[in-house]
């Protein structure tokens, strides 16, 4: 039989809750710390940036870097909506148009190029010879299932849409069997066999499982997109932010990190996408 | 002890009007009425679970209107017993004591006392599941009585029990009331079960008190046709007289005699011609003969004395007869009601 009255149990319960909350608070970070750099980074670029970040803080004792990942567009919204003292110091976007928007809104005041995304056609490796796709025009083959990025969504969607229409291949856009909202989604669609071909970034095709299961076909003259890193306006840690930006974008370790994860570092010979 | 003065209340469509009831200390009051007449609502107002819109309630001389149910010290046994199913029988009974923070020893002593008085000691360790109707009732009763209230409210305490035990339980309740010196209000829809235990009867009809009085008052001198029919006091005769319009009167079966058609009616007695519908056993030494009389919507029952031997009844179904009675023995019931009156 239960002796303690129910009220005592409720109090005990609330004490437990309070304890949990206090425990959580232990995980708290001090956002005002002058040596704590906060970076918003597009999720697709995580791997090289993580590596460079480790190298950066290894050289600087006492400095920490908190990385927040998300879609480039989401990060931009967060940048705009977060109160000033929660804003990050650095914003890395997978596509320059976001950074330009941010600059137009006065949110960032320094934009530098890190690397480039080049669109390529990707098909499943074990079906490559069977499908025998060599050019963009081959995507218009009847019966071929093509996955494309949502034209109003990810950068690759916009770029591939424009590219196809410029090549008089609008039919491919209309008949796309799927419209992905992220480039990884489209790569997965082809990898898992739900589509035969897609247009994605070269770097994506060289990442992780995609590298093992997909093979790419270059698109001569394809427009490219710049991966950019920006300093957020009015950040109290401007110096540290600048140091980070400079470290990440120049130097041999930068080239090595980006190349290792499949990114194109050299400026491509074609004009950038409008 | 319990005083309801001019109580008015309405709940949705239903209204209680002008309820005036006074139950003296130590009285056993039976609140009688058909289902839906407001009996439970009145009891809920006495124990504080419902508020009246007008009028006052006094308990033991003090105004109880504003008091919380917890402060009224009224024992309440609801119709469905409302046992706390998550607790054992012992904890149900001890509930009121533990809420008042009595020590464990005191609780045990008083629970034992009440349980043995009601004969439910063997049930103390059990959960409430699987108890019979009678057992549940006694647990609910014990739960209320253990607090030694001065007023006890019983809402239809025997309606859920089987017929053979109802009368006995009513007598047991009365015995309990007497030995504990309480004031009790017993809600019922059945006069036959309760008339032997009641000191005071209050008959409720559609939100209004039709009559309040002793058993004798209600049975022999019902205030109106409704009460007369409800307590089955006797035959309700309807007639139209010029000045008063439609009136009803009570004729007790024992006050009427039956004559064969064509017999002479003794002087000074009224007569109604009719035809025998049925002859039934009237209990005791009488036949109850039901006669269909012209101009009366109901059959008239006449008690015919019956000799102790096995002789057949003197009247047969279908026989034409005359019902005679002394008009002075009619008890007026005031204006008749109902569209089917003549």
């Amino acid at each position: 039989m239960n002796r303690r009255p129910a009220i005592a149990r409720m109090i005990g319960h609330m004490a437990l809750t309070a304890g949990l909350l206090i425990g959580l608070a232990g995980c708290k970070d001090d956002k005002a710390d002058a040596n704590r750099l906060s970076v918003f980074c597009a999720a697709g670029i995580r791997l090289p940036i993580d590596q460079l970040k480790e190298e950066f803080i290894a050289d600087r004792p006492g400095v920490t870097v908190a990385m927040q990942f998300g879609g480039s567009g989401e990060l931009l919204s967060q940048l705009e909506l977060t109160p000033a003292d929660d804003r990050p110091d650095v914003y890395i976007a997978g596509e320059e148009s976001y950074a330009q928007d941010a600059q137009a809104k006065g949110l960032v005041d320094r934009i530098e190029t890190l690397a480039y995304f080049v669109p390529v056609i990707a098909v499943a490796r074990d079906r490559a010879s069977e499908l025998n796709i060599r050019t963009l025009a081959d995507l218009a083959r009847p019966g071929l299932k093509v996955a494309l990025g949502e034209p109003r969504g990810p950068a690759v969607g916009k770029v591939s849409d424009r590219m196809l229409r410029a090549a008089s291949l609008a039919a491919v856009c209309e008949n796309a069997v799927a419209h992905g909202s992220t480039v990884q989604e489209m790569a997965r669609t082809v990898m898992l066999g739900h589509a035969d071909a897609t247009i994605i970034w070269d770097a994506t095709a060289r990442q992780g499982d995609f590298a093992k299961t997909l093979t790419t076909i270059a698109i001569p003259g394809a427009p490219t997109v710049r991966i950019v890193i920006c300093r957020v306006s009015d950040t109290p840690r401007a110096e540290l932010a600048d140091a980070f930006i400079d470290y990440v974008r120049t130097g041999d370790s930068s080239r090595a990190a980006f190349t290792k994860y499949g990114f194109t570092v050299a400026a491509p010979t074609t004009a950038p996408a409008p | 002890m319990i005083e309801l003065c001019d109580i008015q209340a309405s709940f949705g469509q239903f209204r209680l009007r002008d309820i005036n009831l006074r139950v003296q200390p130590g009285q056993y009051c039976v609140l009688l009425g058909p289902p839906g007449s407001g009996k439970t609502s009145i009891v809920e107002m006495i124990c504080g679970l419902r508020a009246a819109e007008g009028g006052t309630i006094r308990l033991g001389g003090r105004r109880a209107d504003g008091l919380d149910p917890a402060d009224r010290h009224v024992g309440y046994v609801p119709q469905d017993y409302a046992l706390f199913t998550s607790m054992s029988v012992w904890r149900n009974i001890a509930f009121g004591l533990r809420v008042r923070r009595l020590s464990r020893a005191q609780c045990e002593q008083r629970v034992e006392q009440v349980a043995s008085r009601l004969g439910i000691e063997p049930l103390l360790g059990r959960t409430c599941a699987g108890l019979s109707g009678g057992e549940r009732q006694r647990v609910a009763l014990a739960r209320a009585l253990v607090l030694e209230p001065q007023v006890l409210l019983l809402d239809e305490p025997v309606s859920a029990l089987d017929e053979s035990t109802r009368q006995r339980v009513c007598l047991e309740l009365r015995a309990l009331h007497d030995s504990l010196g309480m004031t009790t209000v017993h809600v019922s829809h059945n006069f036959e079960e309760t008339h032997s235990v009641a000191d005071l009867i209050a008959v409720l009809n559609d939100g209004r008190l039709a009559q309040v009085g002793s058993v004798d008052d209600v049975f022999r001198r019902p205030a109106d046709e409704f009460v007369a029919r409800f307590v089955r006091a006797g035959n309700v005769l309807r007639r139209v007289s010029g000045a008063e319009g439609l009136t009803a009167a009570l004729l007790r079966p024992q006050d009427a005699t039956l004559l064969v058609e064509g017999s002479a009616v003794p002087p000074g007695r009224a007569a109604l011609a009719g035809q025998v519908v049925a002859v039934q056993d009237g209990g005791g030494l009488q036949w109850m003969v039901r006669v269909a009389v012209a101009d009366q919507p109901d059959t008239v029952a006449v008690a015919v004395p019956r000799p102790i031997d096995d002789a057949p009844p003197p009247f047969r179904a279908g026989q034409r007869v005359i019902v005679t009675f002394d008009p002075a023995r009619l008890h007026s019931l005031g204006p008749g009601d109902g569209p089917d009156a003549m």
Binding site: T17, D29, Q184 | A70, A82, F95, G96, V99, A144
Partner: protein, 289 residues
């Protein structure tokens, strides 16, 4: 053709009844069994779907990567934070949800229908939107005051709890209200006639009776909280070693194309969830709420 009788005795079988099959009894009732069969088959479709998804994922997985992925410090942190935050969310949801459910169930007041509907909004809104709204709130004057004087949850672990709480509590309130709806309010009234105050009637009579319903609400709330992702992404942040929870980990791996790592963390989440849910269900009955 007539159905065979319910229990034909072996030594009395008239010629026109079919003979029982050798060694067996005639079906007790063919129709009865068909009914049971249909119910199980239709209801079992969902079980089949769940099992199919799990089996599909397991067969696709490369188990050699499981241990290495799951034992990385980031994933271990995410697991700890997932558990800590979801349990905190449940505790808060009960402290707030029990009174809320009680008021909604027992009391009548003007505008009750509107308020009841408002409390369903967090369930209806896409989780991402909840995150955006939270972010916007802390931008407003009221939000900034709270940040300065009470707690700053933006991109902090408290923000993770807040994000989970805003969505999961709505589920909890729904279920707790339904639980109180089932408990006859007259029992509280009777308790009051026995001398209990309203508060005593609630704690001694109603709440013990509500125990299993409250427990079910806690389970649902926890499940929702630990699986929550959208608002955490936007409001709590996805910082490794700081506000990362398991759903976030899975998403981060997918964003770099590492499906095997994503599946490894998924399997971890499934194991974690099953263990916790089984514990809840097995021992929850003995929790004294």
């Amino acid at each position: 053709m007539s159905l065979p009788p319910a229990r034909p005795s072996p030594d009395v079988s008239p010629a026109d009844w079919p003979a029982p099959p050798p060694g067996g009894r005639v079906a007790v009732s063919l129709r009865g069994r068909l009914f049971v069969g249909w119910m199980i088959a239709l209801g079992g479709i969902y079980l089949a779907i769940v099992v199919a998804l799990l089996v599909g994922g397991l067969t696709y997985m490369d188990f050699s990567r499981f241990w290495e992925t799951v034992s990385s410090p980031d994933i271990l942190f995410a697991m700890r934070l997932s558990l800590l935050s979801s349990l905190t969310t449940v505790a808060l949801a009960l402290v707030i949800g029990i009174p809320a459910g009680y008021v909604l169930s027992r009391y009548r007041f003007p505008g009750k229908l509107i308020i009841d509907t408002l409390l369903d909004i967090p369930i209806v809104l896409p989780p991402l939107v909840v995150g955006v709204l939270l972010l916007i709130f802390f931008h407003t004057a009221a939000g900034r005051w709270i940040k300065a004087n009470v707690n700053d949850p933006v991109f902090q672990p408290e923000g993770v709890v807040l994000a989970q709480f805003v969505v999961a509590c709505a589920f909890g309130i729904r279920m707790i209200k339904a639980t109180f709806d089932q408990i006859d309010p007259r029992l509280e009234s009777v308790a009051r006639t026995l001398g209990a105050t309203r508060s005593q009637a609630f704690f001694r009579v109603t709440l013990p009776m509500a125990r299993s319903g409250v427990l079910a609400a806690a389970v649902v709330t926890w499940a929702r909280a630990i699986g929550e992702f959208g608002p955490i992404l936007i409001f709590g942040g996805t910082m490794r070693g700081h506000t990362e929870v398991l759903p976030t980990s899975i998403w981060l791996e997918l964003q770099v194309g590492d499906i095997q790592a994503a599946l490894a963390v998924t399997l971890l989440m499934i194991l974690l969830a099953m263990t916790t849910l089984l514990l809840f269900k097995r021992f929850g009955g003995q929790i004294r709420l």
